[in-house]
């Protein structure tokens, strides 16, 4: 019984993280019917931002040397969380604007400047320059120059590209974006594993019955629940949320009703990115796993499965799917069959999908003929 309850606690903690990432998949799927495979890598970027913020950017004090710095560090840690969320929200929007929107609406001349900046990035990183500020200035300058050079090419291409509604193109682009983030990360962050030091005091409580609960687990759970509640409020009670629901229902009709679909879609990506960024920062700072640029791969896939399990497009479904995945993993990993952990989780998925093809809480869609 004690072991059972203990695994339930681990499962819920793991599941709340999967749910955070799964929400990003499900939001985007809801509005665009697109599986955003780059989402797991946005989660990775959140972890990387957390690493840099905790070790370089913010003045964290070593807890062993300054025990009274605990409160200040907790404040800074909340700052890190917000920073990771902001960076990932912007990243999510950038991915949508420059990778998916051109596929939807056709290429525009402005896109040249984005690709100019991208092209200048390896040059700025590879060149022997002193210090980060100089590098940033060189990158910006080169990026602007490259952008203007690319303009004629892009405007020529733009005349040829056709607006495509093919979902396959978007899916392949998503995989491409995922590779760009992973291998771009290798370039910037290196392949060596890095660890976030302990920045907030951690304690483990033993509650009656011999069950152990750590402050990191409680923090992960509370912050995830809070963020999910905020998301629910945004989707159900704001104008933007209403617009999102309208687009999910019928994007063409939403356009006819005067909804600026592009800006709402960008907002959706920002929301998903912020949730993934929060998840990445929580994992990096509180579970102390190694951070590498390929670190988003496995959690990303599992969260995707969670989203499918719950029913793609359904927000409560993503949360439910995430929790189920987390619990299934914890129970299998804690049993004699830990080698088959992922296999069993995926078997559950297959069986559930056979019984309910639209996922646990997905709405069945009747195709109009």
């Amino acid at each position: 019984m004690q072991a059972f309850l203990q695994q339930v606690i681990f499962g819920i903690q793991l599941g709340s993280l999967y749910a955070l990432i799964a929400l990003g998949y499900t939001l985007v799927y809801g509005v665009l019917r697109l599986i955003n495979f780059a989402h797991g890598d946005v989660f990775m970027v959140g972890a990387v931002v957390c690493y840099y913020a905790c070790t370089r950017w913010l003045p964290f004090r070593n807890l062993e040397a300054y025990p009274d710095a605990a409160l200040a560090n907790v404040g800074l840690a909340l700052g890190v969380l917000l920073l990771a969320m902001a960076v990932c929200a912007v990243l999510g929007m950038a991915i949508e604007r420059f990778a998916y929107r051109p596929l939807r609406n056709g290429l525009q001349t402005v896109d040249a400047h984005f690709w100019g900046m991208v092209a200048a990035l390896p040059v700025a990183i590879g060149a022997p320059l002193p210090g980060l500020p100089v590098r940033a200035v060189v990158w910006l300058a080169l990026g602007v120059v490259f952008g203007f050079l690319l303009r004629p090419v892009v405007s020529r291409l733009a005349r040829r590209t056709v607006r495509s509604s093919s979902r396959l193109n978007a899916l392949i682009t998503a995989i491409g974006v995922s590779f760009v983030l992973e291998y771009g990360g290798l370039l910037v962050f290196g392949a060596d594993p890095n660890f976030v030091p302990t920045v907030v005091p951690e304690r483990t409580f033993e509650i009656p019955g011999g069950i152990r609960v750590g402050t990191p687990q409680m923090a992960i759970l509370c912050i995830s629940l809070l963020l999910m509640a905020m998301l629910r409020w945004i989707v159900l009670h704001t104008r933007r949320g209403k617009a999102m629901r309208a687009i999910a229902f019928d994007i063409e009709a939403a356009k006819l009703m005067g909804i600026n679909t592009d800006s709402v879609i960008a907002f959706t990506f920002a929301l998903g990115g912020a949730l993934a960024g929060a998840g990445g920062a929580l994992v990096a700072a509180l579970t102390h796993v190694k951070i590498t640029p390929l670190f988003g791969l496995l959690p990303g896939i599992k969260a995707f499965v969670a989203a499918v399990l719950g029913g793609p497009g359904s927000i409560p479904g993503a949360v439910l799917g995430g929790l189920l995945m987390g619990l299934a993993e914890a129970f299998v990993a804690g049993s004699q069959f830990s080698a088959y952990r992922d296999a069993i989780a995926f078997c559950i998925l297959i069986i559930l999908l056979l019984a309910r093809p639209t996922g646990l809480l997905g709405q069945p869609v009747t195709e109009k003929v």
């Binding site: 072991a3 203990q6 695994q7 681990f10 499962g11 903690q13 793991l14 062993e64 392949a191 060596d192 594993p193 660890f195 030091p197 302990t198 951690e202 483990t204 033993e206 152990r212 750590g214 990191p216 994992v283 579970t287 102390h288 796993v289 190694k290 590498t292 390929l294 670190f295 791969l297 496995l298 959690p299 993993e329 914890a330 129970f331 990993a333 804690g334 049993s335 830990s338 080698a339 992922d342």
Partner: protein
């Protein structure tokens, strides 16, 4: 127009023929006269995922070659080291070793640290009959690739047996195992450890697995804790061990963790929460090299290395140094510098005084050497004790 083109083509053809002839001539003269230099090849992971492994080894190798040249080379002929980077990738290792042999015409090849890359390049060396010495690949399969492949370190079988003997000697009769199911090194280490510990009267009370890339180990660790072991073997790489240790302490599993040379990295302790963190007091087996060892040869090497690179050498640098020096020693004993006699000279190495212990190559081209048990203390690894092959009955 046409005739013009013809002259041009024939001109180019003539030039090519002339170049080939000149080339032939120079090769011929080189073969008859005494060689002006001996070219030794090295392939190492200077960039990529295990860049620190390659850089460290290369420093040791370069130092050994420079020392040999300062002492007059091999019978008066200087050595030249050609180093190729394999970017931590097995397929690149195969390519660069082929280039070393076919284009740089090296007489012998030194490398690699990672067994997967040594195993990728070994068949190439075997095919061209060029001796290859790996400084620190511990997988038993590496030297089974052929007659021309040698190593100057112990194998994983031996290492796992050492850890099992250590566990028995410490009184850890009830051991648990937590291994990386996707890593050959980890799985084989765990199997050998379990077999040896059972022979010594101990038992494996629980076994759980993880995968590289997992973020949460607490579920498995909790079930290990329920079996109430005396110690837990975690034969993984340093990148996972720190996290596992932290989460083990979090779920209340406080017994010592045991490991192998995969733990040996400056990143191990930061990963476990810094000095005095979750790994404090844990043990792992490593090659017979530590800055704490008082042997004169070892201390001289450490002093020279610090002077040259202003940093302390690790076991990989010492093994690189030993591999290169053993090769030079074999060349000196060689009557005629060709591949066959060099191979035989290396194979007959006996009691070579290396900085990582005396090296004797057995009939399977592996080194019989002692191993150290290191303990994590503060921000460093201190020598706890050592085991010779005889002590564990091998």
């Amino acid at each position: 127009m046409n005739s013009k083109r013809l002259t041009r083509v024939s001109g180019v053809a003539l030039a090519i023929v002339a170049c080939t002839l000149v080339g032939c001539k120079s090769v011929k003269s080189g073969a008859t006269a005494k060689p002006s230099e001996i070219v030794v090849g090295e392939y190492a992971s200077l960039t990529g995922t295990t860049a620190t492994f390659g850089t460290s080894t290369h420093r040791g190798v370069q130092m050994a070659i420079d020392d040999a040249n300062a002492a007059g080379g091999v019978n008066g002929v200087p050595l030249r080291l050609v180093t190729e980077d394999d970017a931590s990738k097995p397929d690149v290792a195969r390519t660069v070793v082929t280039r070393l042999i076919t284009q740089d015409k090296v007489i012998a090849v030194l490398g690699e640290v990672a067994s997967t890359r040594s195993m990728a390049a070994a068949p190439v060396c075997e095919q061209y009959k060029v001796p290859m010495i790996t400084p620190s690949s511990t997988n038993p399969e590496v030297t089974r690739k052929g007659e021309y492949i040698f190593r100057v370190c112990f194998t994983d079988d031996f290492q796992a047996a050492v850890v099992a003997h250590f566990a028995a000697d410490q009184g850890y009769k009830r051991a648990a195992i937590f291994k990386d199911i996707k890593n050959d090194y980890s799985v084989a280490f765990a199997a050998n450890f379990a077999a040896e510990l059972k022979k010594l009267g101990g038992q494996i009370v629980a076994e759980q697995v993880f995968q590289e890339g997992d973020t949460d180990f607490k579920a498995q660790l909790t079930s290990l804790k329920a079996a109430n072991p005396d110690a837990v073997l975690v034969p993984g790489y340093y990148s996972e061990v720190g996290t596992i240790a932290r989460q083990a302490r979090e779920v209340g599993l406080t017994v010592p963790l045991l490991g192998g040379d995969g733990w040996d990295s400056p990143r191990l302790i930061p990963g476990a929460g810094g000095p005095g963190g979750a790994l404090e007091g844990c043990f792992f087996s490593n090659h017979y090299f530590s800055t704490e060892l008082k042997e004169k040869a070892t201390q001289d090497f450490i002093a020279a290395f610090r002077k040259r690179y202003s940093t302390s050498p690790d076991a990989l640098a010492a093994l690189g140094y030993d591999a290169a020096r053993l090769l030079v020693d074999a060349m000196k004993r060689c009557p005629k510098l060709d591949a066959k006699s060099l191979r035989d000279a290396i194979a007959s190495t006996k009691d070579f005084p290396g900085v990582t212990g005396k090296i004797t190559l057995d009939m399977n081209r592996n080194a019989r050497k002692a191993a150290l048990i290191l303990q994590v203390k503060g921000d460093r690894f201190t020598v706890f004790r050592s085991y010779t092959p005889e002590q564990i009955g091998q």
